[in-house]
Amino acid sequence: MLVAWNYRYRNSLIDRIDPRARLIFSFAVLIAATSTWNSLLLAIIFMISILWYAAAKLSWKDTKRGWMMISILLFTMIVVNTIITGGGAGGVVPEGGQLVWPDGFNLFGRHLTFGLTVERLWFAVAQLMRILSISLVFIMIPYTMDSRAYGVTFRKLGLPDRLAYTMELSFRFIPTLARNFQVTLDAQRARGFELDSVKGGIFNKIKRIAPLIIPVTMNAIVSSEDIANAMDLRGFGQQKRTWLYELKYHWWDYAVIAFAVIMLGGVLFLAFGRGMRLFHVPQWWYGLFN
């Protein structure tokens, strides 16, 4: 089983930005987008997220798996919960409102009434902008961040040395464990174990995974003892760590961080200081349904 990381250098603008600055920007977008339901502010954040995503030069082929997952989330949250059942809009959109089809409508010769309101429809738009803004900045991380950079990035962002090193070490273990997993799977299949069988009840199906999970886990634990001893012999944790993959801020990284801070500060000020936090429907939207 070959493990392939999704990252590759694309010579994009994002590739030139320090991973710390990128993470700070992503979290600024997350906090800004979740601080308000104001559609104007959400539209601005959404546009910024689109530009940020475009700067990464990602192709559809690269990211389609992630977008498929987000599409399911969007469909459930927006189409099913907000538009069809009205559940997802609860608590944000006030009760009642103007019906989109006040007299109902005819479909296949039958008269149907549907309680979708203009307010709930606008909420779906706001919800779409909010979820997509967050998705755009976070979905690109696996594709734009070198796996060697995670440990040092989190260390430089303030995580303790040992925790950052744990992250670094886990990246190193993945190819070995993936190989062990493959060997175990092949060995169990060679013994005639029916991992793929769909027979039996739910508990039997779950228990059928055990001959795969248990040997892989126990092997990993046994081998970790030797690794820990080797690390202790080399004096692990006695001094501050240095990292092979060095990070260095450039002026444009500071510019990205400054932009993220200003954007977040601006959104928080407008949301909490200027009353732009709550959901409201613009008048022109009502005009479309009259």
Partner: protein
Amino acid sequence: MYSNEVSKQEKKSLWRFGTKEVVYAAIGAALYAVVTWAFNVWQIPGAGNVGVRPAVVLPMFFGIAFGPIVGFITGFVGNILADLLSGYGFWVWWDLGNGIMGLIPGLFSVLITNYKSGGSILRAEISVVLGVLFGMGLAAVSEMWVSGADMNTVIFGNFLPAFLTNVLWGLVLLPLLMVAYSAIVSQSGR
């Protein structure tokens, strides 16, 4: 120590994070990522039509065996790595939820005296239910803040599917892992 008994010295060091714990946490996280990825991307049809995420047992087991910090990192970092491998992005509130699924069983690790005794397994099973309840509860409730979903959506759309499948995997697989680990503890004198 050549028995299944967990020593008093180990019991006192619940929050220890030395070299061994660093390695266990890294191994646990990597294992979580590989197993999740294998079942996600590789589409192993091992569990028929059951929600295929057997890796959730790993943070629980690493928590029970090596304490709350190792359990938390196994779930938290493991879920980040699994999402990176699968290309799903970076969803910190679900990563935290997975971390809590390992942290809470880790808190119960002081109550585990013998990995194959009925009492210890029962306590471990209780920790599984609590861990998944709080972990998936936090992750699901965070969707109210992030996506603006209401409580009904959160409970029926996010929480219940994750809670039920994760609890099922944990309750069935954790005792098996504990019994297997007990043999290693006996042989190696850990």
